[in-house]
Symmetry: C2
């Protein structure tokens, strides 16, 4: 197939006419499709329905140490859940806390507390500085960036590559500036690129010299178990931080939102014992404990770590055909014409399409016009501003296979049209 | 029975000898009893066990408007839950938000956000003042005070009477000082006094002139439905605030922690629509939504407001015998001898015993020595300091009836012993 950048102006004009006609035909169908958020589809949700039967009116509701999960207490969660999710996250019982249904809320709260009170080792609350800063690998997760923006934390964008963020740049930045207090990371099947931080990246993050002695990496391991094609092993940042003599550098987060039910799962927080003692003392001011019944429901449903992994294989099997459809469309319709690029993800919930510079907003607008809702262009970057106007996050999990096929057809036509129009000038 | 203050020194010395012997005998038993926290007992927890059957593997899991409760979304909660708890809390669907399992966490977060960002109508974040203050009726709830202390909010104690806090004092304070930003309240079956704010108190709170235009009453209606002897009607502070032209003055909180399962229920937040719009915008930075499956479980279990009320009658029937036991012991052993006083509660979870000044810590220590754990003396006051050293919170719900009987015997002997020793000097 002829690449767009090899076409003559006339060929491009011909292509534009054809694409416009195709686009108009899609638009006339009046479809309503959504590839905006990483929501599991109904087939995936069905996998966890048996969990609703594990606790019933005749259950004992006791944790393995006899704690009655129906009553107050156990700020850090029930021991059964700490063992199960600790094993999956590579943490001892002292290094994990099981909280409510949202890891996002827990991350926000950890950041808010740091602003109000500081973290272990802080000289003063982060909010007491005229300005503090956070490193944000881009493309990244819009909700992380929203937390920083809300709390007035300045964001420094650092490019994310297939093996992790630009470590040379990060090492330089954090070594020089005491007001850079931390960094966001989605280390495995990154949101939205789907790549995994290399061992080398993890080790450099653990070892690097930071001017701030209270530097914290917010390690949002949201997709720790969420392989689609290949279960890639991510090195434990907590272990590497311990080895490097920086055990308190990392806060790790995760949840079962994309394992069982989004918004109705359990979330977990992992850090060094010293960090945990500091945090649980503060958390004791705002909570007596989180939903232990839901913890027990999860533990009894999965039984053990192997149970979770077997469950995640079922998710992967469902997601694979959807990712196949996206990748097939991107390859056959766009890559073949030299229109944009993407990194093939091995897991997670997204494909990050990198359009020709200056085309992302246009493509998203065209899609919307034809009835396909995508995440806003720019959402992958701090302050919603992608300086190249290139990244688009595609979330293939929620639409039905038929809807996804239609949505990708419209996406590819929109991407081609925007690119042709850019080339015509 | 002869009152202690009518006894001669010799009579008191005789009494002391007898009490010491009785105390030593209790101590020798090596009991382990707990009347410290307002935890429902096992009979109460059993009332909600059928709730575990209402959602099962074949449930549709849809809210009445078709929302799939198993997936992301609905920041303010499912409409079914907003209707049900809105009716119980006297709020329209626009005035209520259903959140996670803990109203305490939600209150903390509301306060933390006020410190970081201010509330609707604030000129600046509360944390940007050198010092802000909160009114705290005493005796009050230790966890409210802990939130203020943690966030560096100065607490001003105001005496609580049987019809509510000292309104003359409050009106004067808030009219003069712009840095008094709000007030804690447990208005119905107050923690720990068990009394209810009068209509007059509620109206004065709604109408009073506050120097701070961003004044907020944190109205923790934790025991709204928790009558024991008599279901007293509390005036709606939101309605009264609207009538008085101060619709944004109040944040109301509640949960099902002492209706279904503590720590595994749902909580709610009620305020004016304008306040709600402001808050939900901020909450959107930290959450996608709370546990909708648990909301649905609650709604389908109770069906409607009448269902909740019928359920609470069952709780009351269980609690009544326990409150009877406490009151009987206090009357026969202490009041008859003129030893301390208490207000008979009509509902809630506590009896507040007011010892002779300077005796509360001693009584709590004696009880502990004999195996009965009580809430720390002082916990009823800001900074854990009761200037009179008089108040002790008794929580009769959790121990078994037999344990409660033993615990109250020990409590009464300890109270008498401490009082006698004070009188002997």
């Amino acid at each position: 197939m002829k690449k767009y950048d090899e076409m003559t102006k006339e060929e491009l004009l011909g292509e534009q006419r054809q694409l416009q006609a195709a686009f108009d035909a899609y638009k006339a169908k009046g479809l309503k499709l959504n590839m905006a958020r990483g929501k599991p589809g109904s087939e995936q949700l069905a996998l966890s329905m048996p969990m609703l039967d594990v606790l019933n009116a005749s259950s004992d509701c006791k944790a393995e140490d006899g704690v009655d999960c129906r009553n107050y207490g156990e700020l850090s969660g029930i021991v059964d859940a700490k063992k199960l999710f600790g094993e999956l996250m590579g943490a001892s019982e002292e290094e994990i806390l099981i909280s409510g249904s949202s890891s996002l809320s827990f991350m926000y709260d950890a950041m808010a507390r740091a602003m109000l009170k500081g973290v272990l080792g802080s000289d003063k609350p982060w909010g007491a500085y005229p300005k503090i800063k956070f490193i944000c690998p881009v493309p990244g997760y819009d909700r992380h960036f929203a937390i920083c923006e809300f709390l007035g934390i300045e964001m420094i964008s650092v490019p994310l590559y297939a093996d992790g963020p630009d470590m040379d740049m990060i090492e330089k930045l954090v070594a020089e500036d005491e007001t850079i207090k931390g960094m966001w990371s989605v280390p495995k099947y990154t949101n939205p690129m789907g790549s995994v931080y290399s061992d080398e990246t993890v080790r450099r993050l653990a070892k690097m010299n930071t001017a701030a002695k209270d530097f914290r990496i917010f390690w949002d391991n949201a997709y720790a178990l969420h392989h689609v094609y290949k279960d890639i092993q991510l090195l434990s940042l907590l272990d590497e931080c311990k080895k490097a003599g920086n055990p308190n550098r990392v806060y790790m987060f995760g949840s079962t939102s994309k394992i069982t039910f989004p918004g109705s799962g359990v979330s977990y927080f992992v850090c060094s014992k010293e960090n945990m003692d500091y945090n649980t003392k503060q958390l004791g001011m705002q909570a007596i404990g989180w939903d232990k019944m839901n913890m027990l429901r999860h533990v009894r449903f999965f039984k053990n770590a192997a149970g979770v992994k077997a469950h995640m294989d079922k998710h992967a099997a469902i997601l694979r055909s959807r990712f196949d459809a996206v990748i097939e469309a991107l390859d056959s319709e766009l890559a073949s014409r030299g229109v944009g690029s993407y990194v093939k993800p091995e897991g997670g919930y997204f494909v990050a399409y990198k359009a020709e510079n200056g085309c992302a907003k246009k493509i998203v607008a065209l899609c919307k016009d034809a009835g396909v809702v995508l995440t806003n262009a720019g959402a992958t970057h701090p302050y919603g501003k992608d300086p190249e106007d290139a990244y688009i996050r595609i979330a293939p999990s929620y639409p039905s296979p038929e809807e996804l096929k239609s949505a990708m057809e419209i996406f590819c036509v929109s991407a081609r049209l925007a690119t042709v129009e850019k080339l015509i000038g």
